[in-house]
């Protein structure tokens, strides 16, 4: 939080001096990203080719969109493990309705409603029944995927309609539509979190829930909305992947929860709540995406990739804990 407010208020207030190590920890990520890009370009000369960049971004659009929702949840010191299941449900429902001949806008609207509803359930369990978010969303993950598997009878919906692929494979101004959607979600997310009353309230709740409640903020309601937004993001991401593959199936997205949390944490949003930003998750997404692309292009075994990515996530969290200790 503090880096957001101090940079915004620096025009009117004396700038607070920060220890250099703090600055390194805060902005070191950007350096990491630049180094990673340079290394990729060295090892793989076509890396900075516009087509490759478009590929990287559109492949990672669903992950990025979910990461934005996850950022909001994690800033309030929450957690949403059910994004993978909602993502799969979104893909399944969107495709099934298209197969059934629904107009695409109606299919999309219903899919988004499902995401919102799933988030509402998560938020209600966490805030009204006071279940730990980790356990609550671990439980709903199973419920949502079970329902999606039942609904689809465990088989994929294959869509043949051409228009259905627009969201995942179409382009606007030579840039894939999925990238436009990704950009839009990030810009809106960053704006809402850093500039609005709602965003400021989320930081306050994450920083100190009891103090915020005493100050009169509707903390339970605000927390619930973050799960709702996260659910909607997951459903939107599901629509994009279904459109991209022309298939909606309920058994995808198993790694989505961990991947999206990884993106948020690598970006530096704290697991302890109250700190972080959407732009940080954007950097986190780029780091993960570039790394994946690099490892893929070097034909690194996907099992090794798992080991490497897991190590990076743990290192990012350890770095956060270390920075916290030094403060």
């Amino acid at each position: 939080m503090s880096e957001v407010s101090s940079s915004r208020t620096s025009a009117t207030a004396p700038v607070r001096r920060r220890p250099t190590s703090d600055i390194a920890l805060r902005y070191g990520l950007i350096a990491v990203l630049i180094v990673l890009i340079a290394v990729s370009q060295l090892l793989y000369p076509r890396f900075l080719d516009p087509q490759n960049i478009k590929n990287i971004l559109s492949q990672n659009a669903p992950l990025g969109i979910i990461a934005v929702g996850m950022t909001l949840v994690m800033i309030t010191r929450g957690f949403d493990l059910s994004v993978g299941a909602v993502y799969a449900s979104g893909a399944t429902v969107f495709a099934s309705l298209a197969v059934a001949g629904w107009p695409l806008w109606a299919a999309g609207a219903v899919t988004m409603m499902i995401g919102v509803f799933a988030g509402l359930i998560n938020g209600t369990i966490v805030t009204r029944l006071n279940v730990n978010p980790f356990v609550a969303t671990l439980g709903t993950t199973s419920v949502f995927s079970g329902l999606a598997l039942l609904y689809s009878n465990s088989s994929p919906f294959v869509v043949s309609e051409k228009a259905f692929t627009l969201l995942g494979r179409g382009s606007f101004l030579e840039i894939p539509i999925s990238i436009w959607v990704l950009l839009m979600v990030f810009v809106i997310g960053e704006f809402v979190l850093s500039r609005t009353v709602y965003g400021r309230s989320l930081y306050a709740i994450g920083g100190n829930d009891e103090a915020s409640r005493l100050a009169g903020l509707p903390t339970a309601m605000l927390r619930t909305t973050t799960y709702v937004i996260c659910g909607a993001c997951a459903a939107l991401a599901g629509m994009i992947i279904a459109s991209r593959l022309s298939i909606g199936q309920a058994d995808i997205g198993a790694s989505m929860a961990l991947d999206s949390i990884a993106v948020v944490v690598i970006g530096g949003t704290s697991l302890m709540g109250g700190e972080g930003a959407v732009w940080r998750s954007a950097i986190g997404l780029l780091i993960v995406a570039v790394l994946t692309n690099l490892l893929d292009s070097l034909a690194v075994d996907s099992n090794y990739q798992l080991v490497i990515k897991g190590t990076i996530v743990v290192a990012a969290v350890a770095l956060d804990a270390y920075a916290r200790l030094r403060r």
Partner: protein, 538 residues
Amino acid sequence: MTHRRGKGRGTAKPLLATPANQDDIRVSDLSATISPAVRLKGVSKTFGPIQALKPVNLDIAAGTIHALVGQNGAGKSTTLGILAGRISATTGDVEIGGARVDLGDPRRARAAGVVAIYQELTIVPALSAVANVFLGQPLSRGYLLSEGAMQSRFAELAGRLGVSIPTDAEARSLSVADQQTLEILRAIQANARIILFDEPTTALAQPEREALFKVMRDLRAEGHTLIYVSHNLDEVLGISDAITVFRNGSLIETRPTQAWTKAQLVTAMLGEEMGDIYHRRPASRLRDGEPAISVRDIALPGAIGEIGFSVRAGEILGVGGLVGSGRSSLLRALAGLEHRSSGQIEIAGREVAWPRTPRAARALGIALVPEDRKHQGLVLGMTAADNVTLPKLRAIARSGLIDNQLAAEVAADATRAFGFDPKRLFAPVGTLSGGNQQKVLLARWAFDRPKVLLVDEPTRGIDVGAKAEILDALRAFAEEGLAVIMVSSELEEICALADRVIVMSEGRQVDHIDASRAELSVHRILNSAFGVERHHHV
């Protein structure tokens, strides 16, 4: 450690304009006959560019209680930290019992017989009382714990100090006072000859304080040397043998306690005649209007009941009583923090629903300044300005977007009246002193004006200069038409501010004192709280 800039009450005149001439200050030699337990020779401490402690020479006689007083940042805590080995001195030598000791590590200090007891206790909540006393150094035979030996040693130590704590009680089930006693027992068990106390009484109620002082006197009688840092000058004057005053990182003066008066201490601490911070601040205007808040039959099962009172706009109602008398539960119930509470409530003469959530209480115009600033009051990672504007973000937003320019102005306006340094508005509030944090919380309600302001322990852990400012601020709130309900363990504060006082005991209201009709004194409140004069029942 920051240098606190003193601010005179209501004036911008710097307090420390005329520093005492250092050459004139002579450290009285209290230890002409006995060799001192502790001798500091030219001990100083520099943190980066800041000299937190200028070279200090100080002798502390063995078998005495020696108090260190001063405002926050005066250097007393740094001195204590050096003795405890928590802070390593930049220059100078420390001698303990005549021998030069190289401190700078709590374990070495411990080996030299020095143990510190901090405000933040180091009790393990899930362990028993006995286990806490022998923490880290259990009595054992080989690898087997000697439970019996520890039990009897515990009983012996407790008996020596005249305290009774159930040996097998889980530490978390004990009161703060008992937990503190466990730390003292632990120190004695570790053969500490010199015990350092940092603000030991802030979390204690009056009788518990008395009990602690008895323990301290007993320890002194056994030959222990006690070094004691406190903001509470009455207590310091009551218990210590000698008092050293610090100001702005310098040792100002040491005198035997009988050679000090409270006014002299305050003057030495602040560097200017400040008078009595507990001077009476009565309401200046007539109080014959409608009650701003009127409550009846307040009850919280198992905690409080049979409470009713009303407070007019412009009036301050003090709530007196001992810790555990239900004072804080009463405030929490009014603030909507006790959802099982019930009662009848009228706001401005209109019967309304009893608030069961903080949001409902806020909607009625009731706001709380909680006792626990860090956990219930402030979002520590946010700036002071953001903490001020938190309850009414809409007021600093245009169509849902936060206007930072406006927010900065609003926060500066709200904090100005409290003598808050505007340079600190954009510092994370967690880095500010207790006094400044409290000013931020009060400024919050100057910005988002409630009708009824509840304040719980408003000056806990706050230094003398800021205390006076906080008390003045509460009176100013009332003058501006708020009804203020105030709980404080420091009954002098209630006597200084309150227009009327209700006294609570065991969850019940046992007395009602109108300062305009009867004499309001600490004595009167304590008598009621202890049930000495129960005929004053309402």
